[in-house]
């Protein structure tokens, strides 16, 4: 892990995505699209009104307020990404995003798709929603009929980050490393609990 933050602009090229390794810190300027459960379902069924090639797709249902000047995004932290696992591989194959961002990590099928199509998974600190919103300059919305948490939001961001690369296109997976270590430590953990 290097402390230096790589400053990237969206969309990402496949080369830029493949250049990233787990533990890298990155920040983004450009456009972020939010999609979660209902957004993923709809994207697989209907025409998507934005171009997701190389895009940064954020698993997020923001807290927003409608004002006379448009939408104000107050808080925009990540939602739990594993809920999207069932659709993510097909989603990546069809839309070819450059990066997914969320919390908690994703499963084996997504990891394989990241490797096959050249993309990364980024871990935004769960609940750090005010910090994320700080980087958002303006926002537009599609699919508002899904409700504000599930709609497709378009955030124009400046220097969003730093955020950690937690799964890369080379099979690297920070969450898996952590899980494996906890598994190895289990005898000591159980002893500590008096089990």
């Amino acid at each position: 892990m290097t402390d230096e933050v790589k400053r990237l602009t969206t969309p990402l090229s496949e080369e830029e995505a493949r250049d990233l390794r787990i533990g890298d810190l990155v920040s983004f300027t450009g456009v972020v699209y939010t999609l979660r459960d209902q957004g993923h379902l709809r994207a697989m069924e209907q025409e998507v009104p934005v171009d997701l090639k190389g895009a940064l797709v954020f698993h997020c249902g923001p807290l927003v307020k409608e004002t006379s000047d448009g939408w104000e995004v107050l808080a925009a932290g990540p939602t739990t990404s594993i809920r999207m696992e069932g659709l993510e591989r097909e989603f990546i194959e069809r839309f070819r995003p450059g990066a997914l961002m969320g919390k908690g990590g994703m499963g084996q099928r997504t990891s394989e798709a990241l490797q096959e199509f050249g993309a990364v998974y980024l871990a935004w600190t769960g609940g750090a929603a005010v910090l994320a919103a700080e980087a958002i300059r303006s926002a537009e919305v599609y699919w508002l009929d899904l409700g504000t948490p599930e709609a497709l939001w378009v955030f124009h961001v400046e220097d969003l980050g730093p955020v950690v690369v937690a799964m890369d296109s080379h099979g690297g997976n920070l969450y898996k490393e952590v899980r494996d270590k906890v598994e190895r430590d289990m005898p000591a953990i159980r002893a500590g609990l008096g089990i």
Binding site: L63, G104, G127, V130, G194
Partner: protein
């Protein structure tokens, strides 16, 4: 003690709950803050920075303002139960606009969102009669990334304390980074399947630096707190420490054939608030302060 006071107090409690953590949770997190350069230290610093910025700007700390759950402890008072319930609902309407709260109510099958926090079965209000001449209203604005990781175990009585510990450990490990650790765990032991889960959630409203009054339960709390803190899942499941910053146990007696164990998993944003309304018109509110 009147409807208007209850309405405005509930609105204020919810508004405060989503913007400032109760002192016990806030200081437990602050104690973990270091200037280290490990990924765990970075995660905790980011959480604290986010908390401070939310407080400063008066913005909810997390975009998931949760499902507001209420406990109404209703004593011998001259205001009707129906009027108190309606004042709670009106307070929620006001808070949704003021805080604001994210509209977090959808139909479970159609997923239709009407843009508020009401709907069939919502808001959830647990009502308990109490003896004293007062009303207590508690609320928890429960995020569902963590709620989704909660679990019920209907253990064999012979599994005993070890079985309970094993089940809680398994729940935390399986949850990984999904529920946004550092976690607070509410553990409900005994009763029936439904009461174990209800007790588990209620446990999240007791300050994490206090103990269950039953010595055997207090011992279990101490063991779980010490044994789960540093299991290595770490903040956000990215490794390191801490994984768990609080464990509270609530219990009820149960059937001889049964040992229900409910675990309600709570992210670091354990956002509770409690108000006591007394006959002399005074109101005391506990929780986060901004």
């Amino acid at each position: 003690m009147d409807e208007e006071t209850i309405r405005s107090t509930v609105a204020g409690m919810l508004d405060r709950a989503v913007k400032a953590l109760p002192p016990d949770v806030r200081s437990a997190l602050a104690e973990c803050e270091t200037d280290g350069d490990g990924i765990d230290a970075v995660q905790v610093r980011t959480i604290m920075e986010n908390i401070r910025m939310g407080e400063e700007k008066g913005i909810p700390m997390c975009e998931d303002t949760g499902v507001p759950v209420f406990w109404l402890r209703y004593g011998k008072v001259p205001i009707s139960l129906q009027d108190v319930v309606s004042a709670i609902k009106e307070g929620l309407v006001e808070a949704a606009d003021r805080a604001p709260l994210r509209p977090n109510s959808v139909h479970p099958l159609t997923r239709l969102n009407h843009g508020d926090n009401f709907g069939h079965g919502l808001p959830l209000i647990h009502i308990t009669p109490i003896e004293s001449e007062q009303i207590e209203i508690w609320t928890l604005t429960k995020g569902h990334g963590s709620e989704n990781m909660s679990a019920l175990g209907m253990l064999a009585p012979a599994a005993g304390v070890k079985g309970i510990k094993e089940f809680v450990l398994e729940t935390v490990v399986n949850a990984g980074g999904n529920p946004c650790p550092p976690l607070v765990l509410g553990v409900g032991i005994g009763g029936t399947a439904d009461t174990a889960m209800a007790l588990a959630k209620k446990a999240l409203l007791r300050p994490i630096d206090t103990f269950n009054q039953d010595p055997s339960m207090a011992q279990l709390e101490a063991d779980l707190r010490a044994g789960l803190r540093d299991i290595g899942v770490g903040p956000m499941g990215l490794g390191g420490s801490p994984t768990v910053i609080g464990v509270n146990v609530e219990h009820a007696n149960c059937h001889p054939a049964s040992l229900p164990v409910g675990v309600n998993v709570q992210c670091w944003a354990d956002r509770w608030a409690k108000a006591t309304f007394r006959m002399d018109g005074t109101v005391e509110v506990l929780g986060g302060d901004i």
